[in-house]
């Protein structure tokens, strides 16, 4: 076996690599389209020739299943990057999925092969970005996270603000100077975080966590300024969106421009177009409150003035009633008194009239029993020795008898 092996063709390394080169380049004679996710690109930016990788991930597990080296030659860099950013509004960077026109290139001294990119299709990346974005939005919506932060209650006077942005960036300056212009008092707590590049996710999430733990701000604002309109896709980020959704503090964003609307904007309590308008949002809210207070104070004054007027009217009315009623009271009493007196007089007369009648009756009755009246009728009363004679047995012959008649006495002797 060993001798047989010796007679078989034995390649030197270079021979082998050179043959592989021929086979590969023979199999892929022209340019081919390859799609994959860029990685290791960002650190190469600005180099003469750019060397990086394209990779493929298992879509479900976010796990790399295959990788290939890639490069763009110095002569092509400018043209490719310009075209890409112009059409896709995004700069070429790690994490982007691209569709690239390339040539298979083998480098025999190292035994390596790679793809040399000659052109990139920006439309593909745009589609992918939109697709990713749509997937994230759909997921957030399904989990009810799109409106979660909006359901929080923002203070009517949000003076304490947690500011998340890049220190000394245009966004930072714009936001602060707009607040200063208002001459209102604000307390700003600043947390430095990248608003561009791959650190956006981790740093913005850290900042959000920080403010959520501190609980010393009325609102958190994420701003990102500057002229560059590109790379807003850093804010089409699922983790940032989830963080905002579960935050206990209302989040206000000012990270885009007039036409841009990121997922971060979507889940925020309030979305403002720029850092300046984000600042205006706070200023207006406080001014609204101050206006309301002023209107209320005017209303309070009006109402209290009306109240005193009303009370005074009530009092005057009561005063009149007291006067009227107390006079009426006495009038009525006087009237009653008069009535009583009249009654009294009547009864008094009746009383005497009755008495007189009764007396008359008595006198009549008394008259009838007076003996003088009987004598006048012809009856007489005889007395012997002063004693009235009622029977013949009471007298004896020879006795002197006095008989009283109406106009005198008759003296006689009994025989």
């Amino acid at each position: 076996m060993e001798s047989g092996d010796n007679q078989q063709k034995t390649y030197t390394i270079l021979e082998l690599n050179s043959e592989i080169e021929q086979i590969l380049e023979g199999s892929f004679p022209g340019l081919i389209w390859v799609r994959g996710e860029i990685t290791g690109f960002d650190k190469q930016k600005g180099s003469k020739n750019i060397f990086f990788q394209l990779q493929e991930k298992n879509p479900d597990k976010d796990q790399i299943i295959s990788k290939i080296s890639a490069s763009i030659f110095n002569s092509d860099i400018k043209k490719i990057l310009q075209k890409f950013s112009q059409i896709s509004d995004t700069e070429l960077r790690d994490g982007l999925e691209i569709r690239a026109l390339c040539r298979i290139d083998v480098y025999p001294p190292w035994g390596e092969y790679k793809v040399v990119i000659k052109d990139i299709d920006p439309e593909f990346t745009l589609g992918k970005l939109a697709q990713t974005r749509a997937t994230i939005i759909k997921d957030l919506k399904k989990r009810g996270l799109l409106d979660k932060n909006k359901q929080l209650v923002l203070s009517v006077v949000p003076q304490s603000i947690g500011l998340i942005t890049q220190k000394d960036s245009e966004g930072y300056t714009d936001f602060i100077s707009e607040l200063k212009k208002s001459r209102l008092y604000f307390k700003i707590r600043f947390y430095n975080a990248s608003v561009q590049g791959e650190k956006v996710e981790i740093e913005v999430c850290e900042a959000l966590d920080y403010f959520n733990q501190q609980r010393n701000t009325d609102a958190v604002v994420i701003v990102r300024g500057g002229g560059s309109k590109t790379d807003l896709s850093w804010f089409d980020n699922k983790k940032i969106a989830e963080k905002i959704a579960f935050l206990q503090i209302p989040v206000i964003t000012g990270i885009g421009h007039k036409t841009d609307f990121t997922i971060t904007d979507m889940v925020a309590f309030s979305y403002q177009q720029t850092p300046s308008t984000a600042a205006t949002f706070f200023v207006e809210r406080i001014n609204d409150f101050l206006d309301k207070i002023d209107a209320l104070s005017v209303e309070v004054v009006h109402n209290s003035q009306n109240l005193t007027k009303l009370e005074l009217q009530n009092l005057i009315e009561t005063k009149k009633q007291i006067n009227r009623e107390s006079t009426l009271f006495l009038e009525r009493d006087k009237e009653e008194l008069k009535e009583n007196r009249k009654n009294l007089l009547f009864y008094y007369k009746e009383f005497f009239k009755n008495i007189r009648e009764t007396i008359k009756q008595y006198s009549l009755r008394i008259d009838s029993s007076d003996p003088i009246n009987i004598i006048r009728l012809g009856f007489s009363v005889s007395k012997v020795s002063g004693k009235t004679i009622k029977s013949i047995k009471e007298v004896k012959t020879g006795q002197n008898m006095v008989t009283a008649v109406s106009d005198g006495e008759i003296k006689s002797i009994i025989n």
């Binding site: 101050l290 209290s304 009370e311 005074l312 009092l315 009561t318 009493d333």
Partner: protein, 70 residues
């Protein structure tokens, strides 16, 4: 009772109840004059209180800061 301690509402309620008593003839004639006198006192007290409140409100309105710019 010290009149300073009586509140406007208390005074006004007493006033109303005096008025009610007079209307209902729920008063002894001997005490009517005293009741009316008391009512007068209460009316004066209430008037004073209202005037005082009015003046205070006016003071506050005068001393409040300028209206915010439009």
């Amino acid at each position: 009772m010290n009149e300073k301690q009586i509140s406007y509402n208390e005074a006004y309620e007493e006033l109303q109840s005096i008025l009610e008593d007079i209307k209902e003839r729920n008063v002894d004639v001997d005490k009517l004059a005293a009741k009316v006198k008391r009512a007068r006192e209460l009316i004066n007290l209430c008037e004073e209180r209202i005037k005082k409140a009015e003046m205070e409100i006016e003071e506050i309105v005068k001393s409040s800061p300028d209206k915010p710019k439009d």
